[in-house]
Symmetry: C2
Subunit: 650 residues, 2 copies
C-alpha cells in the first residue's frame, strides 16, 4: 500500500490556516483581525483519477465533507467499501464543505490518496491535488492542525504586589493551566507578559485572561512571565508549536556568538509555525516582507521547504489579485523574490508549477499600475512602505523600482526553470534598469535618489541598498554607493532591524565582515545584556528601563520575540560559516579568522543533506552527504567527497 495523504484543492489548506493565523491577534481584550482581504478556500471540489487496474481492488474514502465517490458509473457514500474490477476505471470524488476546506483521504491497496490525483474547483483547469506531510492518517481532519505540545513549569516565583509573579525559563506560546480550588479560580485574572514589567502592569499588559471555570485554562498567548493576584497557585504552561526539526548546529568557541545563535534559533522557531509570522505576541500576522527575510534564516536552520510553500501560498491568495499583498506594494514584489529564493534553495518543480500562475497574475496586476516609463506607481489604498524612515516618496518611488527590476529578473529565471521563454521578462528588466539609471541616478551625488519628480534629490540608504541588492547598480555604481551613501554619515542611518537585514546582507556581500561582526556583537549582544531570551522587534541601546518595551507609542507595544531579529543565523551561516548554493551543489568558505573554533552542521538542501565543518588542532575537517560540495579555504577549492571526511591543514 502506497502512502496516503489527505487531499484538497492546492492552496486551500493554506488559505484556511492563514485566516486562523491572521484572525488570531488579540490585544487587551479585543480581537484584531488583519486589515486586508482574506481570500477564502473553495467549498466545492472534485478529485479525479483514472486507474488501469491489474486486478480487482477495494478502497474506501474518508472525509468530513458532504459528497460521494463515483467509480465507473456507480455512486458510493463516503466510508463505504468500493470494489473495482480489473481494467480501466475512472474515479471521481465529489466533496463540499462550508466551515473549512473540503478534503478526502483514500484507504486502499492500489487506489489510495497518494500523488497523482487531480483537483478541480469548477472554475479552472484541473491541477494536482494539494497535500501535506502533516496529514497522512485517516483519523485526522486537515482543518484541525495537530500541534505539538510541551509542558513548562515556572522556574521562579516571587511574591509581589499582593500576588505572585511566575517566571518561565523562556518565552512560550502557551495556555497557562491553573490548578486550584474552584473557589480560588472564581474571578481570577491572569496577567501575562513577555517581560516582568509587562506582567506586573495590570492596566497595560497585552494579555490578561480569566481562566475557564472548568478547564482552569485561559487562551493561548505569548508568555514568559505571569502575574496572579493572591496566594500562590499551581501553574503550568502548555506550550504549543509546530515541530519543525532543527537541522543546523553552530559552535564558534565564542560564547557571545554561540549564545546569539541559540537565542536567534529559539526566536525563529517560536515564529515558525504553520507559517512564518512576524512575532508571537504581535501581530501574529503573515507579512510578506517579514516572511521574505525568514526564508534566508530558514535556509540555514530548519531548511524546511514546506513552511515556505505554505507561507508563499497563504500570502498570495486567489486570482484575480485585487490588492497588494498585505496592502503593501513592496510586499507584493518581495513575494515574487521570495518565490525565486525558495526555488533557488530547494528546487521543486511541482511547487513552481503550482505557484507560477500566481507569480504571473501578480506581475499582471502590477503591470496595470505601471506608468509610461515602466515604473510601478501607487493607486489609492496601496501602501508604499519600504521602511519606517524619512523617504521621498513623491512620484514613483525609487526603491520600489529596484524591487520591480529584480522581479522581472526573477520571472525570467523562473520561466527558464519551467522551460518557458523568459525573453519578455528579461527585456522588461533591461528596459526598466535603463529607465532607473536615466531617471534616478544622480551623477553629481553619485547615488540614486528616491524621487526624480520632487526635485529634492533626496538620497536614502534604502533605495541605494536595494539598487545594489537587486542588481540594478553595476560595479562602478556599487562602489560609488558604498562611498557616497553607505559610508556617508550625512545619510540618515538605518534604524529598523527590518532594513538592517538588507544593509548587513549588502555589507557582508561586499566583504565588509568586520562591520557585520561588530554589529552582531553590539546589537544582538546588547539585547542579551538586557537579559533577552528571544530577540526583539527593535533594540536601541540608548533606551533603558520600562521605556525599552515601548513601540508604536504603546507601552509594551514592542514584540520581544520577532522573526526578523533572527537574522544572525543567516549572517553567520552565509558569511562566516560561509555556506552558499553553487550550481547544483554548494560551496562552503568558512572564515576561521572570525570563528577560530568553528564546529557546525548546516543543511544544504530541503531534504537531509548537510555539510559539517570542524576546526580542531590546526586542521579543518569537512563532511557532507551530498555530491557537488566544495570547500573554499584561503583561495583554494577542495571538492568534498560524499560521506567521507576531507581534512585540510590550516
Amino acid at each position: 500500500m502506497a502512502d496516503s495523504y489527505w487531499l484538497w484543492y492546492p492552496g486551500d489548506m493554506e488559505l484556511y490556516y492563514r485566516m486562523e493565523q491572521d484572525f488570531s491577534r488579540v490585544e487587551r481584550g479585543y480581537g484584531w483581525p488583519a486589515f486586508w482581504k482574506s481570500d477564502g478556500f473553495r467549498n466545492r471540489v472534485v478529485f479525479r483519477r483514472t486507474y488501469d487496474l491489474e486486478r480487482e481492488t477495494e478502497f474506501r474514502v474518508v472525509s468530513k465533507a458532504v459528497g460521494y465517490v463515483l467509480a465507473g458509473d456507480k455512486k458510493y457514500p463516503f466510508g463505504q467499501r468500493v470494489c473495482c474490477p480489473r481494467g480501466e476505471v475512472r474515479i471521481s470524488i465529489h466533496a463540499a464543505r462550508i466551515d473549512a476546506f473540503p478534503s478526502v483521504y483514500i484507504e486502499g491497496e492500489t487506489v489510495c490518496s497518494d500523488r497523482g490525483w487531480m483537483a478541480e474547483d469548477y472554475a479552472q483547469p484541473p491541477v494536482p491535488a494539494g497535500y501535506s506531510r502533516y496529514f497522512t492518517r485517516p483519523d485526522q481532519d486537515p482543518a484541525r492542525w495537530e500541534y505539538s505540545e510541551e509542558i513548562y513549569l515556572p522556574v521562579k516565583t516571587e511574591r509581589i504586589n499582593g500576588g505572585v509573579l511566575y517566571e518561565f525559563e523562556t518565552e512560550l506560546t502557551a495556555a497557562l493551566q491553573v490548578r486550584c480550588g474552584r473557589e480560588r479560580l472564581e474571578g481570577m485574572t491572569v496577567f501575562c507578559g513577555e517581560s516582568r514589567e509587562e506582567a506586573l502592569d495590570r492596566e497595560r499588559c497585552y494579555y490578561s485572561w480569566t481562566p475557564g471555570p472548568d478547564t482552569g485554562e485561559p487562551p493561548r498567548c505569548a508568555v514568559r512571565f505571569a502575574f496572579i493576584p493572591g496566594e500562590e497557585v499551581e501553574l503550568a504552561a502548555l506550550h504549543r508549536y509546530v515541530d519543525i526539526p532543527v537541522r543546523a548546529r553552530f559552535h564558534s568557541g565564542d560564547p557571545l556568538l554561540d549564545r546569539i545563535w541559540a537565542v536567534a534559533e529559539h526566536t525563529f522557531r517560536l515564529c515558525s509555525g504553520v507559517f512564518f509570522i512576524d512575532g508571537v505576541k504581535r501581530d501574529k500576522w503573515i507579512w510578506s516582507g517579514d516572511a521574505y527575510q525568514s526564508l534566508f534564516v530558514n535556509r540555514y536552520l530548519l531548511a524546511d521547504p514546506d513552511i515556505e510553500g505554505r507561507t508563499l501560498l497563504a500570502l498570495r491568495g486567489n486570482d484575480p489579485m485585487t490588492g497588494h499583498i498585505n496592502t503593501i506594494m513592496d510586499y507584493s514584489l518581495l513575494w515574487v523574490l521570495g518565490v525565486k529564493e525558495h526555488f533557488a534553495a530547494y528546487g521543486g518543480r511541482e511547487f513552481l508549477e503550482l505557484i507560477w500562475p500566481k507569480v504571473r497574475s501578480l506581475l499582471a496586476f502590477c503591470e496595470k499600475r505601471l506608468d509610461g516609463r515602466g515604473f510601478l506607481t501607487a493607486r489609492e489604498g496601496d501602501w508604499v512602505f519600504i521602511d519606517w524612515a524619512e523617504l521621498d516618496k513623491d512620484g514613483p518611488f525609487g526603491a520600489e523600482q529596484m524591487l520591480l527590476c529584480a522581479c522581472w529578473q526573477a520571472a525570467a529565471e523562473l520561466s527558464g526553470a519551467l522551460g518557458l521563454d523568459g525573453g519578455e521578462y528579461r527585456a522588461r528588466r533591461d528596459a526598466l534598469a535603463a529607465q532607473i539609471d536615466a531617471c534616478y541616478w544622480d551623477g553629481e551625488l553619485g547615488a540614486y535618489v528616491d524621487s526624480f519628480t520632487s526635485g529634492r534629490r533626496h538620497v536614502s540608504r534604502q533605495t541605494n541598498l536595494l539598487a545594489v541588492r537587486c542588481g540594478v547598480a553595476d560595479g562602478e555604481k556599487r562602489a560609488l554607493i558604498l562611498k557616497n551613501v553607505i559610508d556617508n554619515p550625512a545619510v540618515p542611518p538605518i534604524t529598523t532591524p527590518y532594513f538592517n537585514f538588507f544593509q548587513l546582507d549588502v555589507l557582508a556581500d561586499c566583504g565588509r565582515l568586520d562591520e557585520v561582526m561588530e554589529r552582531l556583537r553590539s546589537y544582538w549582544g546588547g539585547m542579551l545584556d538586557r537579559g533577552a531570551v528571544t530577540f526583539w522587534e527593535e533594540f536601541d541601546p540608548a533606551v533603558t528601563g520600562p521605556a525599552q518595551y515601548d513601540m508604536y507609542g504603546d507601552r509594551f507595544g514592542k514584540s520581544l520575540c520577532h522573526a526578523w531579529s533572527a537574522s544572525p543565523i543567516y549572517l553567520l551561516g552565509r558569511y562566516f560559516a560561509g555556506l552558499r548554493r553553487e550550481g547544483e551543489g554548494f560551496a562552503i568558505a568558512p572564515r576561521l579568522d572570525y570563528l577560530p573554533e568553528l564546529d557546525c552542521v548546516l543543511p544544504v538542501d530541503g531534504g537531509d543533506g548537510f555539510a559539517s565543518l570542524r576546526a580542531e588542532g590546526g586542521a579543518l575537517t569537512a563532511h557532507t552527504n551530498r555530491p557537488g560540495g566544495v570547500l573554499e579555504l584561503n583561495g583554494r577549492r577542495f571538492p568534498l567527497p560524499v560521506d567521507g571526511d576531507l581534512t585540510v591543514e590550516l
Copy 2:
C-alpha cells in the same frame, strides 16, 4: 431606539445558505452536492458609519465574529459598552469569521444597526450593509436560520410487509421522531417515501435512515409515508419550513380549480424556504430556470420580494463570473430576466443598486462569448439546455438568442430605472433582433428555425415560443408562429412541465384561455385523480402503477413536489382572476365566463397591498387598499377606490 438588524456584507448571507441548500441533497445514503462552482462568502469585513451625535450616547456590538469596534480613535471589544460624546464620531466595526459569514448587531439608542451602515470587504468600494427581516434580535446568529416547526402525527397506519406503514396527511420536509424503548430503537431503519410505493421499497426508496440512539430522530427529508419494520411505534414528523405568509385566497366555485389552487399552494410553499428550490426531495438545489418560473407564482401567492432577492443573489454569486449560472447558458439569461421581473413586480431601488453591478458583469461575461453577429455561443463546459427535447443546437442556438435579446432589453430598462443611459443596451437589442430575423426566420416555413448553420431547418416550439415571449417576433410573425408552430401537430409537442409554463403563458397571453383551462383540468386535475397532495415534477396520464414514479431512468427518481408545477397559481391569478401590473398601479380583468363564483384576494405589491374580487348575486364587488387600481370588465374600465368597495352589476 430604531429597529436594529444583524448586518453583513450584502449577498454573503445568501451565499452561505446557498451552500447549505446546494449541499443538502442526499440520495440513497450519499451526499450529492451541486456540481457547479460554489462562491464563498467573505471572511473579513468592516462596517462603517459616521454619526453627528446631539448628545452623549452608548452602544454595544454583539457578534460571533472575531473583531473590535473603533469609535473615534479608541478600540473596544465586542460586548463592551461604548460611550460616545456629543459631536461627530466615526465608527468602524471590524469582523472576521471563518466558518460562516461575519455579522454584527448593534444595540443602542442612537447608534444601532439600522439602515445606513456601509460594508467593505477590502477589495471593492463600500456598499450598503446587508440585512434581513429574519435577523433582528441580539441573541441570534445569522448563520443559524430559525426555521418554523410544526408537529404532524400520522393520519393512518397500516400493518404490512412485517412492519408498519405510517401516512401523514400531506408531504412534509420533516425529521421523524421515533418514540420507543432504546432496545427497539437499536438497529431500527426508517424508510421514507413521497409515495406509498416508495416507502415500501426498502431497496430503492431515496431516504432510509437510522434514528439517532439518543434523539430517536433521523435527518430531515421529504416524507409523506414512512415504513418501519416490526411492531408499531409512536411516530411524529417535525416539519420544518420558512413561514412566509400566504397573501392570496382563491375560490372559484369550481371544486377542481379550487383544489388545484390549494395543492399548488402547498407545493409552492414547500419549495419556498430560504430560497426557491426545485423540489423538496430532489434536487433541493437552486436552479435559475426553476427560480425564474417561481417568481411568477410568488407574485400571485406570497408576493414576498425577500425570497426573490435571496434567490437572485444566491444564484449569481461573486464577481468575476467564471461560468454560467448552474453551468447553463440559458439559466444565466433567465437570471437577468428574473431581475427585471422582480423589479417590475416590487420596485426596490436599493436592491436594484445592489444587483445591478452583477447584471452588468453577467452581461459582460456573455459578451466575451458573442460571435461576430452578436449571437451567444457556447464554450467548452457550457450547457445549452433550453428544454429536454430534440432541438437542433448546431452553431449558435436560436432559442438562446431570443433570451439574449430580452436580456439586452431588460438591461436597457433597468438602466433607465437607475437613471443611467440604456442606449447601448437598446442598440444591442435592436441589432440582435435584426440579426435573428435575418438568420433564423425562415420565410418559407413561416417560423424561426433552431439553427441556421446546420441546414436542417429544424422548427421547434421552444425557439418560437421564446421568440414570442421575448418580444422578438412582431405581430405578423407572432400570428404565423401560432399557425405554423403552435397549432401545427407536426411540430413535436412540449413534453416537460418546465416548458409547458412558457407555452401556456404564451397561449394565455394570446387570449386562448379555453386551451389553458383545458390543460389545467387535464394535466393538474389528472394528478389529483392519482391522489396527488403536491404537484409532480412531471405527469404523463398514459403511465400508471409504480412506473409513474420513475424519472431519469430511476425508480422513484421523480420528484412529487416540484415548484414548477405550481404554475396554476400564476395562470389562474394572471389570466383568469386577471390581475396584472399597469404603470404604477394594477388592472384586474376577471374572466367570470370561466370563474362564475370568483371570490379571491390577490397581492398587488410586495407589502400588504391587495385586491379582492367577489362575484355574488349578479354583481361583482372589487376592493383594494392601494391607489392606481382599475377593474376591467366587459371592455369597460372602472377606477378602484382606495379602502372602499366598487360594485358592478353583471
